[in-house]
Symmetry: C2
Subunit: 226 residues, 2 copies
DNA sequence: AGAGATAACGTACGCTGTACACATGAAGCC
DNA sequence: GGCTTCATGTGTACAGCGTACGTTATCTCT
């Protein structure tokens, strides 16, 4: 196999077939990194794994990203770049709800990215773009300055925190969460046991919409115009 | 130095003075782990570092915790065990606010624990205890079942997400966030620039209280009793 | 005192990110 | 065309990680 280097003069071919010059670009590396993250999980996103996906060597990536952290930053920024910045209706509160749902969908569609996005400051340009969109919607409702920043922060925080539930969920776990809760000592956790079935779908869309409704109700109640 | 083993027969003392039999307990190991985490940060919490803090060896810890993950789980559960479960007033909504603030304070007082708590499912007993307390308060307001679980989840999610802001904040960063935002292209991010100063204290207590107010307003609006 | 159990420990292995030296291929210059 | 120069791909190596495995020392029970 691989008789492409039949150089009999050198007994041990110390290097494999080298890839052509422009075959490694930041974009291609980020694509490979995402491929690894989606298929193997973020914890398996190692430099060597990305290089293997590109059929390259680990150190080759360091010509384009000084550290692994910078590569991850670029990867996360491309994910944030997929946010859909549409404000379709003419009701600003409804648009705010759509904004929140879109952001949440962005996270649920990239579950491996939630934890690193959570830990990283990552103030990339696309993150700013998302914030600008939220501020635009809020301004239409007369909410500006600290109230706007706080509201925006609240929605983002809610979404990130909520993603912790949905991402960590292991539906193949045995025993199921409701049955595990039902086995608790009834004298210590009576309420937990009584809502065990509802606890079964904690983090669900229905629960999320309920909470988002609550938050938006409060936002609306402090908006200048009725 | 250390002439305690002047055993001249063995030229190289292959082992240092071994510690007595009961000197290593799960509790002491967890204490040492927290010491490392608080002083050096969670990323520096290695098995060898914990062992060094105990003046022991790395493998000695594995007699008490099968894996590092289990040690971390125990550490996180002790942190959750410090939650103060008081419901001081007779206004359930006010108690819910105090509950949320207490939980948030728990996170801010253990900043290193936020990220691992976020990533881990970690359904320890103390986590259930916190949930039971929230359900008790909500039940006093007539909120049960799915509405209660959703509301509880919302508060917890908000706190975790919010902690991402406050934990990641690097106030010694240069340039400051407002000045960095002010340098953005004004035609693309006009609103972000206009709220740059408010953005400076994003994640602050004032902003958090504002968001919590919004959420509680919504909760109150759906509560059975006025 | 002797034996058995077990807690503490040392060594070693495969993995990680990455510093460093080297090899190679494309581009500019004569 | 030949030669130089420089950017880029690659291999080797190292410190540090979690931890499997085998050794020892100490405690307990006769």
């Amino acid at each position: 196999m691989k008789p492409s280097t039949p150089q009999t003069t050198s007994p041990a071919p110390r290097q494999r077939q080298r890839r052509p010059r422009g075959s490694l670009t930041p974009d291609r590396i980020v694509e490979a990194a995402e491929r690894v993250a989606t298929t193997e999980g973020f914890e398996a996103l190692t430099v060597r794994a990305v290089a293997a996906d590109l059929e390259s060597s680990a150190m080759a990536l360091y010509r384009h990203f000084a550290t692994k952290e910078l590569l991850v930053d670029a990867l996360l920024d491309t994910v944030l770049g997929r946010f859909d910045c549409a404000s379709p209706t003419d009701d600003w509160l409804e648009d705010l709800r759509i904004f929140a749902r879109s952001h949440r969908r962005l996270l649920t569609m990239h579950p491996w990215a939630v934890a690193p996005l959570f830990s990283h400051p990552s103030p990339g340009l696309n993150a700013v773009r998302i914030g600008e969109e939220a501020l635009r919607i809020l301004a239409r409702g007369g909410i500006t300055d600290d109230a706007a920043v706080a509201t925006f922060s609240g929605i983002i925080a809610l979404n990130y925190g909520w993603s912790a539930f949905t991402v960590a969920r292991d539906d193949s776990a045995e025993p199921t969460l409701p049955t595990a809760l039902a086995a608790l000592p009834a004298d210590q956790f009576p309420l937990t046991i009584s809502v065990a079935t509802s606890m079964g779908n904690y983090g669900s869309d229905a629960h999320y919409n309920l909470v988002l409704n609550h938050l938006l109700t409060g936002v609306k109640s402090t908006a200048p115009e009725p």
